[in-house]
Symmetry: C2
Subunit: 214 residues, 2 copies
């Protein structure tokens, strides 16, 4: 199912240089800001501190222009869909904009085509609704924002939702709970891709010892 291209390999045979594996962070209008920037912070910390690990993260939007978040913040995209490199990992955040995207045939086609070439598809919050609408969650374990768990089951009754998990790692698919859970999911992603020591280092870097005051 996964299409292997030369950029999948860890070295480029023609130059013997390590090639870079790419994580694409999807942006779209009405993306929930923290859904995107939580994982961004975690993954950018890791990849910039440790370029020797051979991973890079970049934001991308359909046409490469900035998007306006669900709460009104403008966030810039570094790539368009067209000029994005081959992705090894896709992160699909959630937010109000997913209500539109889950009914957008062109976007769902794009998601399905990513599934064909991207080893690891991940989502934050209601990003998993889009995956469900695209048919990616059939008979899979998954989660979403607590307020959207019913909707996820309506979109695909075969999804086995986990209402307690911060994120669900189902192999080539990782979905996470609402908004801030994307930070936990991204730390898990670092641990999975580069080992727990790296993840611990990033956690310490962003001083992620959360203590909600209320």
């Amino acid at each position: 199912m996964t299409e292997h291209t030369d950029t999948d390999s860890t070295t480029d045979a023609s130059t013997d240089q390590p090639t870079v594996r790419h994580i694409g962070l999807l942006l779209f209008d009405q993306v929930e800001e923290l859904d995107a920037v939580g994982p961004w912070e975690v993954l950018a910390c890791w990849t910039l501190l440790h370029p020797e690990d051979g991973w890079a993260v970049a934001t991308m939007s359909l046409d490469g222009t900035p998007v306006t978040g669900a709460k009104g913040l403008s966030i810039g995209a570094q790539r368009s869909f067209e000029d994005a490199p081959h992705l090894d990992v896709l992160i699909h955040p959630g937010g109000e904009g997913t209500c539109r995207l889950q009914q957008d045939a062109e976007h769902l086609d794009w998601v399905r085509s990513r599934r064909g070439t991207t080893s690891l598809m991940t989502s934050v919050s209601t990003g998993s609704q889009v995956y469900a609408a695209a048919g990616l969650l059939t008979n899979r374990r998954a989660t979403t924002h607590w307020a959207s768990l019913n909707l996820l089951s309506e979109l695909d009754p075969t999804v086995r939702t986990d209402v307690d998990a911060r994120f669900v790692d189902d192999g080539d698919l990782i979905t996470s709970a609402g908004v801030s859970a994307g930070i936990d999911m991204a730390l898990h992603l670092v641990a999975r891709l580069a080992g727990p020591d790296r993840a611990r280092e990033v956690r310490r870097g962003i001083q992620y010892d959360p203590r909600p005051p209320i």
Copy 2:
């Protein structure tokens, strides 16, 4: 010390309409992305869900143009310093850019002038270094990113640092620990400005039941 203008009051006598109190979220080049977007998410959730509370939050940069974060993300500003309204609360995030700002006489003057008119000055992570350099932390209790606690004491030996706190509420000044601690600080801010029920509602909205996986 605080200059009271008509926008400080909760109603505008000429129209009997509730006036809006403003929270300004400072953006600058090399701001740490999550330092800014963590509090943004919390405060925008609250103010958009409950406009009747009479608060608004907006991002601002010196000239109102987008900034490039410490990890390379472009974030848009909604206001310039010049066109920003009277601020009741300022949030000064941290990030690599504070090394420059804490030596920027013009920026320090601006911070001191904000202190003269803004009831509540807050910071995230190394934002407090800028406050220290501006002389705002003399004999105050404060914190910063764990890796910058020594630097804070060097900038102002009278600062009483709290190495364990996620944030330090010292009355008209709230400082927080590194990066992700801005989320905890912002929830405290909602509780302080609008009550614990509001803060709990926002916490539930962003599903902030953190469980770091490593």
